[in-house]
Protein backbone atom coordinates (compact mmCIF):
# COMPACT_ATOMS: atom_id res chain seq x y z
CA UNK A 1 0.00 0.00 0.00
CA UNK A 2 2.81 2.39 0.99
CA UNK A 3 4.29 1.94 -2.46
CA UNK A 4 1.20 3.40 -4.10
CA UNK A 5 0.55 6.11 -1.53
CA UNK A 6 2.63 8.88 -3.20
CA UNK A 7 0.87 8.20 -6.52
CA UNK A 8 -2.47 8.40 -4.75
CA UNK A 9 -1.60 11.68 -2.98
CA UNK A 10 -0.29 13.31 -6.15
CA UNK A 11 -3.30 12.15 -8.17
CA UNK A 12 -5.78 13.42 -5.56
CA UNK A 13 -4.06 16.83 -5.44
CA UNK A 14 -3.96 17.00 -9.27
CA UNK A 15 -7.67 16.23 -9.49
CA UNK A 16 -8.48 18.77 -6.76
CA UNK A 17 -6.39 21.43 -8.53
CA UNK A 18 -8.12 20.85 -11.86
CA UNK A 19 -11.55 20.78 -10.20
CA UNK A 20 -10.81 23.96 -8.22
CA UNK A 21 -9.53 25.73 -11.32
CA UNK A 22 -12.63 24.67 -13.27
CA UNK A 23 -15.02 25.92 -10.57
CA UNK A 24 -13.10 29.21 -10.32
CA UNK A 25 -13.04 29.60 -14.10
CA UNK A 26 -16.80 29.07 -14.31
CA UNK A 27 -17.40 31.58 -11.54
CA UNK A 28 -15.16 34.19 -13.12
CA UNK A 29 -16.03 33.60 -16.76
CA UNK A 30 -17.99 36.53 -18.10
CA UNK A 31 -21.48 35.44 -19.18
CA UNK A 32 -22.54 38.47 -21.11
CA UNK A 33 -25.74 38.64 -22.99
CA UNK A 34 -26.26 41.00 -25.89
CA UNK A 35 -27.31 44.58 -25.47
CA UNK A 36 -31.04 44.97 -25.84
CA UNK A 37 -32.09 46.74 -29.00
CA UNK A 38 -34.13 49.32 -27.10
CA UNK A 39 -31.34 50.54 -24.88
CA UNK A 40 -32.14 52.25 -21.60
CA UNK A 41 -35.89 52.31 -22.18
CA UNK A 42 -36.48 53.83 -18.73
CA UNK A 43 -34.23 56.78 -19.34
CA UNK A 44 -32.95 57.18 -22.89
CA UNK A 45 -31.56 60.64 -22.12
CA UNK A 46 -28.99 59.05 -19.83
CA UNK A 47 -27.04 57.76 -22.82
CA UNK A 48 -23.88 59.61 -23.68
CA UNK A 49 -22.97 59.13 -27.31
CA UNK A 50 -20.18 60.16 -29.63
CA UNK A 51 -20.68 59.83 -33.36
CA UNK A 52 -23.69 59.77 -35.69
CA UNK A 53 -27.05 58.29 -34.69
CA UNK A 54 -27.20 56.24 -37.91
CA UNK A 55 -23.72 54.80 -37.37
CA UNK A 56 -22.80 51.56 -39.06
CA UNK A 57 -21.05 50.30 -35.93
CA UNK A 58 -21.86 51.04 -32.30
CA UNK A 59 -19.51 50.54 -29.38
CA UNK A 60 -21.23 50.29 -26.01
CA UNK A 61 -18.88 50.76 -23.10
CA UNK A 62 -19.62 50.16 -19.45
CA UNK A 63 -16.86 52.03 -17.69
CA UNK A 64 -15.59 53.08 -14.30
CA UNK A 65 -13.61 56.31 -14.14
CA UNK A 66 -11.28 54.93 -11.46
CA UNK A 67 -10.49 51.70 -13.31
CA UNK A 68 -6.97 51.83 -14.83
CA UNK A 69 -7.77 49.63 -17.87
CA UNK A 70 -10.76 51.88 -18.68
CA UNK A 71 -8.42 54.85 -18.54
CA UNK A 72 -6.00 53.07 -20.82
CA UNK A 73 -8.74 52.50 -23.42
CA UNK A 74 -10.22 55.98 -23.22
CA UNK A 75 -7.87 57.69 -25.65
CA UNK A 76 -7.78 54.79 -28.17
CA UNK A 77 -11.62 54.83 -28.21
CA UNK A 78 -11.60 58.57 -28.89
CA UNK A 79 -9.13 57.91 -31.67
CA UNK A 80 -11.45 55.27 -33.15
CA UNK A 81 -14.34 57.73 -33.06
CA UNK A 82 -12.12 60.19 -34.88
CA UNK A 83 -10.86 57.69 -37.48
CA UNK A 84 -14.23 56.07 -38.27
CA UNK A 85 -16.91 58.64 -39.12
CA UNK A 86 -19.54 55.88 -39.14
CA UNK A 87 -18.78 54.76 -35.62
CA UNK A 88 -20.85 55.64 -32.58
CA UNK A 89 -19.61 55.25 -29.02
CA UNK A 90 -21.97 54.99 -26.06
CA UNK A 91 -20.62 55.36 -22.55
CA UNK A 92 -22.43 54.04 -19.52
CA UNK A 93 -21.40 54.34 -15.92
CA UNK A 94 -20.55 51.20 -14.04
CA UNK A 95 -18.65 52.40 -10.97
CA UNK A 96 -17.26 49.46 -9.04
CA UNK A 97 -17.71 49.38 -5.26
CA UNK A 98 -14.04 48.59 -4.70
CA UNK A 99 -13.00 51.94 -6.19
CA UNK A 100 -13.25 54.57 -3.49
CA UNK A 101 -13.99 57.60 -5.68
CA UNK A 102 -15.55 55.89 -8.71
CA UNK A 103 -19.13 56.76 -7.83
CA UNK A 104 -18.26 60.40 -7.12
CA UNK A 105 -16.42 60.56 -10.43
CA UNK A 106 -19.48 59.19 -12.22
CA UNK A 107 -21.61 61.83 -10.46
CA UNK A 108 -19.15 64.49 -11.63
CA UNK A 109 -19.32 63.29 -15.23
CA UNK A 110 -23.11 63.20 -15.16
CA UNK A 111 -23.32 66.62 -13.51
CA UNK A 112 -21.02 68.04 -16.21
CA UNK A 113 -23.23 66.27 -18.76
CA UNK A 114 -26.24 68.27 -17.59
CA UNK A 115 -24.35 71.36 -18.74
CA UNK A 116 -23.35 69.73 -22.03
CA UNK A 117 -19.81 68.88 -20.98
CA UNK A 118 -20.02 65.14 -20.37
CA UNK A 119 -17.28 64.09 -22.80
CA UNK A 120 -14.91 66.84 -21.69
CA UNK A 121 -15.28 65.70 -18.09
CA UNK A 122 -15.04 62.06 -19.21
CA UNK A 123 -11.70 62.70 -20.91
CA UNK A 124 -10.41 64.86 -18.08
CA UNK A 125 -11.31 62.29 -15.42
CA UNK A 126 -9.45 59.56 -17.27
CA UNK A 127 -6.48 61.79 -18.01
CA UNK A 128 -6.16 62.85 -14.38
CA UNK A 129 -7.16 59.45 -12.98
CA UNK A 130 -3.87 58.80 -11.20
CA UNK A 131 -4.16 62.09 -9.32
CA UNK A 132 -7.75 62.12 -8.07
CA UNK A 133 -7.80 58.36 -7.42
CA UNK A 134 -5.26 58.88 -4.63
CA UNK A 135 -6.67 62.17 -3.36
CA UNK A 136 -8.38 62.33 0.02
CA UNK A 137 -10.71 65.06 -1.25
CA UNK A 138 -11.53 63.91 -4.77
CA UNK A 139 -14.72 65.95 -4.80
CA UNK A 140 -12.69 69.15 -4.43
CA UNK A 141 -10.69 68.18 -7.49
CA UNK A 142 -13.86 67.46 -9.45
CA UNK A 143 -15.09 70.99 -8.67
CA UNK A 144 -11.78 72.31 -10.01
CA UNK A 145 -12.16 70.19 -13.16
CA UNK A 146 -15.72 71.52 -13.62
CA UNK A 147 -14.34 75.01 -13.51
CA UNK A 148 -11.60 74.11 -16.01
CA UNK A 149 -14.13 72.90 -18.58
CA UNK A 150 -16.23 76.03 -18.09
CA UNK A 151 -19.11 74.55 -16.15
CA UNK A 152 -21.11 76.67 -13.78
CA UNK A 153 -19.53 75.32 -10.59
CA UNK A 154 -22.40 76.18 -8.27
CA UNK A 155 -24.85 74.37 -10.49
CA UNK A 156 -22.35 71.52 -10.90
CA UNK A 157 -22.11 71.08 -7.12
CA UNK A 158 -25.89 71.07 -6.80
CA UNK A 159 -26.29 68.61 -9.66
CA UNK A 160 -23.68 66.25 -8.25
CA UNK A 161 -25.82 65.94 -5.13
CA UNK A 162 -29.09 65.68 -7.03
CA UNK A 163 -31.34 62.65 -7.27
CA UNK A 164 -31.53 63.03 -11.06
CA UNK A 165 -27.80 62.47 -11.50
CA UNK A 166 -27.73 59.56 -9.04
CA UNK A 167 -30.66 57.97 -10.87
CA UNK A 168 -28.80 58.12 -14.20
CA UNK A 169 -25.91 56.16 -12.74
CA UNK A 170 -28.22 53.61 -11.15
CA UNK A 171 -30.01 53.15 -14.49
CA UNK A 172 -26.71 52.39 -16.21
CA UNK A 173 -25.68 50.01 -13.45
CA UNK A 174 -29.02 48.25 -13.54
CA UNK A 175 -28.77 47.76 -17.26
CA UNK A 176 -25.18 46.55 -16.97
CA UNK A 177 -26.12 44.04 -14.29
CA UNK A 178 -28.99 42.77 -16.46
CA UNK A 179 -26.50 42.16 -19.24
CA UNK A 180 -24.12 40.30 -16.95
CA UNK A 181 -21.54 43.06 -16.62
CA UNK A 182 -19.35 42.48 -13.57
CA UNK A 183 -16.06 44.05 -14.59
CA UNK A 184 -14.93 47.20 -16.27
CA UNK A 185 -14.33 47.93 -19.00
CA UNK A 186 -17.03 45.81 -20.61
CA UNK A 187 -17.47 46.63 -24.25
CA UNK A 188 -20.04 45.54 -26.81
CA UNK A 189 -19.53 46.08 -30.52
CA UNK A 190 -22.81 45.98 -32.42
CA UNK A 191 -24.42 44.32 -29.38
CA UNK A 192 -21.84 41.52 -29.14
CA UNK A 193 -19.57 41.42 -26.10
CA UNK A 194 -15.87 41.86 -26.82
CA UNK A 195 -13.87 39.08 -25.09
CA UNK A 196 -11.78 40.43 -22.18
CA UNK A 197 -8.57 39.32 -23.87
CA UNK A 198 -9.36 41.63 -26.81
CA UNK A 199 -9.82 44.73 -24.67
CA UNK A 200 -6.74 46.43 -26.01
CA UNK A 201 -6.37 49.19 -28.61
CA UNK A 202 -5.09 46.92 -31.38
CA UNK A 203 -7.78 44.23 -31.09
CA UNK A 204 -10.54 46.80 -30.66
CA UNK A 205 -9.49 48.57 -33.83
CA UNK A 206 -9.42 45.24 -35.67
CA UNK A 207 -12.88 44.39 -34.32
CA UNK A 208 -14.29 47.75 -35.44
CA UNK A 209 -12.75 47.34 -38.90
CA UNK A 210 -14.25 43.86 -39.11
CA UNK A 211 -17.67 45.13 -38.01
CA UNK A 212 -17.48 47.97 -40.55
CA UNK A 213 -16.95 45.48 -43.40
CA UNK A 214 -20.24 43.66 -43.04
CA UNK A 215 -22.26 46.25 -41.21
CA UNK A 216 -25.71 47.72 -41.46
CA UNK A 217 -26.59 50.86 -39.53
CA UNK A 218 -27.28 50.08 -35.86
CA UNK A 219 -28.15 53.52 -34.63
CA UNK A 220 -31.31 53.94 -32.63
CA UNK A 221 -31.13 57.46 -31.40
Amino acid sequence: MKRYLPFLIVTVVAVMTVAGATVLYRAKRPTLSVVAKDRSPENPDAMHTLGPADAAVTIDEFGDFQCPPCGMLSEPLNQLAHDFPKLRIIFRNFPLVMHQHANEAALAAEAAGLQGHFWQMHDLLYREQVIWSKATDARGLFYAYASMIKCNVNRFKKDMASEQVGARIRTDQKEGSKLGVINTPTIFINNAAVPPASLNPKDLRAAVEEAMKGSKPTGKK
Partner: protein, 153 residues
Protein backbone atom coordinates in the same frame (compact mmCIF):
# COMPACT_ATOMS: atom_id res chain seq x y z
CA UNK B 1 20.99 7.59 8.96
CA UNK B 2 19.18 6.82 5.73
CA UNK B 3 18.54 3.33 4.51
CA UNK B 4 19.13 2.88 0.79
CA UNK B 5 18.19 0.41 -1.90
CA UNK B 6 18.11 0.60 -5.68
CA UNK B 7 16.34 3.81 -6.76
CA UNK B 8 15.00 4.30 -3.23
CA UNK B 9 16.38 5.70 0.00
CA UNK B 10 14.36 6.14 3.14
CA UNK B 11 14.90 9.72 4.27
CA UNK B 12 15.92 10.60 7.80
CA UNK B 13 13.34 12.22 10.08
CA UNK B 14 14.74 15.73 9.49
CA UNK B 15 14.75 15.24 5.71
CA UNK B 16 11.22 13.87 5.83
CA UNK B 17 10.02 16.97 7.70
CA UNK B 18 11.70 19.18 5.08
CA UNK B 19 9.95 17.32 2.26
CA UNK B 20 6.60 17.59 3.99
CA UNK B 21 7.11 21.33 4.49
CA UNK B 22 8.19 21.65 0.86
CA UNK B 23 5.05 19.86 -0.32
CA UNK B 24 2.83 22.07 1.88
CA UNK B 25 4.44 25.30 0.61
CA UNK B 26 4.17 24.04 -2.96
CA UNK B 27 0.44 23.52 -2.40
CA UNK B 28 0.07 27.18 -1.40
CA UNK B 29 2.00 28.06 -4.55
CA UNK B 30 -0.30 25.86 -6.66
CA UNK B 31 -3.32 27.70 -5.24
CA UNK B 32 -1.80 31.15 -5.84
CA UNK B 33 -0.65 30.35 -9.38
CA UNK B 34 -3.95 28.62 -10.24
CA UNK B 35 -5.87 31.70 -9.14
CA UNK B 36 -3.66 33.95 -11.28
CA UNK B 37 -3.87 31.61 -14.27
CA UNK B 38 -7.67 31.51 -14.08
CA UNK B 39 -7.79 35.31 -13.87
CA UNK B 40 -5.54 35.54 -16.91
CA UNK B 41 -7.68 33.10 -18.92
CA UNK B 42 -10.94 34.84 -18.04
CA UNK B 43 -9.46 38.26 -18.74
CA UNK B 44 -10.04 39.43 -15.19
CA UNK B 45 -6.36 40.27 -14.92
CA UNK B 46 -7.32 43.52 -16.57
CA UNK B 47 -9.25 44.49 -13.44
CA UNK B 48 -7.30 42.70 -10.76
CA UNK B 49 -9.26 43.74 -7.70
CA UNK B 50 -8.72 47.43 -8.24
CA UNK B 51 -5.01 47.24 -7.47
CA UNK B 52 -3.14 49.45 -9.87
CA UNK B 53 0.23 47.71 -9.42
CA UNK B 54 -1.40 44.37 -9.97
CA UNK B 55 -2.92 45.53 -13.23
CA UNK B 56 0.37 47.01 -14.43
CA UNK B 57 2.24 43.76 -13.76
CA UNK B 58 -0.34 41.18 -14.85
CA UNK B 59 -1.43 43.23 -17.82
CA UNK B 60 2.14 43.66 -19.06
CA UNK B 61 3.89 41.77 -21.84
CA UNK B 62 6.09 40.05 -19.22
CA UNK B 63 3.06 38.25 -17.77
CA UNK B 64 2.83 36.00 -20.82
CA UNK B 65 5.15 33.72 -22.72
CA UNK B 66 3.72 33.60 -26.21
CA UNK B 67 0.00 33.42 -25.54
CA UNK B 68 0.32 31.43 -22.34
CA UNK B 69 0.20 33.28 -19.02
CA UNK B 70 3.31 32.88 -16.86
CA UNK B 71 0.97 31.81 -14.03
CA UNK B 72 0.08 28.66 -15.99
CA UNK B 73 3.75 27.71 -16.04
CA UNK B 74 3.77 28.53 -12.34
CA UNK B 75 1.00 26.00 -11.69
CA UNK B 76 3.04 23.33 -13.51
CA UNK B 77 6.22 24.23 -11.64
CA UNK B 78 4.60 24.26 -8.20
CA UNK B 79 2.82 21.01 -8.92
CA UNK B 80 6.09 19.44 -10.01
CA UNK B 81 7.63 20.56 -6.72
CA UNK B 82 4.69 19.14 -4.77
CA UNK B 83 4.80 15.81 -6.61
CA UNK B 84 8.56 15.41 -6.41
CA UNK B 85 8.64 16.37 -2.70
CA UNK B 86 5.94 13.78 -2.06
CA UNK B 87 7.83 11.08 -3.94
CA UNK B 88 11.11 12.12 -2.29
CA UNK B 89 9.43 11.79 1.10
CA UNK B 90 8.59 8.23 0.18
CA UNK B 91 12.22 7.58 -0.72
CA UNK B 92 12.32 8.02 -4.49
CA UNK B 93 15.84 9.27 -5.25
CA UNK B 94 15.12 10.55 -8.77
CA UNK B 95 12.42 12.78 -7.25
CA UNK B 96 15.14 14.54 -5.19
CA UNK B 97 16.97 15.53 -8.37
CA UNK B 98 13.80 16.73 -10.08
CA UNK B 99 12.92 18.70 -6.95
CA UNK B 100 16.33 20.38 -6.81
CA UNK B 101 16.34 21.25 -10.51
CA UNK B 102 12.76 22.60 -10.49
CA UNK B 103 13.25 24.78 -7.39
CA UNK B 104 16.55 26.14 -8.77
CA UNK B 105 14.87 27.11 -12.06
CA UNK B 106 11.95 28.67 -10.20
CA UNK B 107 14.35 30.64 -8.01
CA UNK B 108 16.18 32.06 -11.04
CA UNK B 109 12.94 32.90 -12.84
CA UNK B 110 11.56 34.55 -9.70
CA UNK B 111 14.64 36.77 -9.51
CA UNK B 112 14.00 37.79 -13.12
CA UNK B 113 10.33 38.51 -12.44
CA UNK B 114 11.13 40.56 -9.34
CA UNK B 115 13.69 42.61 -11.26
CA UNK B 116 11.13 43.18 -14.04
CA UNK B 117 8.65 44.49 -11.46
CA UNK B 118 11.23 46.65 -9.69
CA UNK B 119 13.21 48.07 -12.58
CA UNK B 120 11.10 47.81 -15.73
CA UNK B 121 7.49 48.11 -14.59
CA UNK B 122 8.08 50.02 -11.33
CA UNK B 123 5.06 48.23 -9.90
CA UNK B 124 4.52 45.16 -7.74
CA UNK B 125 1.71 42.65 -7.82
CA UNK B 126 0.82 41.25 -4.42
CA UNK B 127 0.03 37.79 -5.79
CA UNK B 128 3.42 37.70 -7.50
CA UNK B 129 5.11 38.74 -4.26
CA UNK B 130 3.35 35.91 -2.42
CA UNK B 131 4.61 33.54 -5.09
CA UNK B 132 8.14 34.93 -4.80
CA UNK B 133 8.01 34.40 -1.02
CA UNK B 134 6.97 30.78 -1.62
CA UNK B 135 9.87 30.22 -3.99
CA UNK B 136 12.35 31.73 -1.52
CA UNK B 137 11.02 29.46 1.22
CA UNK B 138 11.31 26.45 -1.09
CA UNK B 139 14.86 27.45 -1.96
CA UNK B 140 15.72 27.76 1.73
CA UNK B 141 14.33 24.30 2.39
CA UNK B 142 16.24 22.90 -0.57
CA UNK B 143 19.49 24.33 0.78
CA UNK B 144 18.69 22.92 4.22
CA UNK B 145 18.03 19.41 2.87
CA UNK B 146 20.85 17.04 3.85
CA UNK B 147 22.57 15.45 0.84
CA UNK B 148 21.23 12.11 -0.31
CA UNK B 149 23.27 9.05 0.68
CA UNK B 150 25.06 7.22 -2.09
CA UNK B 151 23.28 4.18 -3.48
CA UNK B 152 24.53 0.88 -2.03
CA UNK B 153 23.82 -1.02 -5.25
Amino acid sequence: MERTQTGMSTPSRATLIIYILTACIALVGVADATYLAVLAFTGETAVCGGSEGCFQVLGSAYAKIGRIPVAAFGVTAYFTVFASATFAAFGYRTARKILAITISLMFLYTLWLLSVQAFLLHAFCRYCLVSAAMVFLLTGLLVATPPAPRSSS
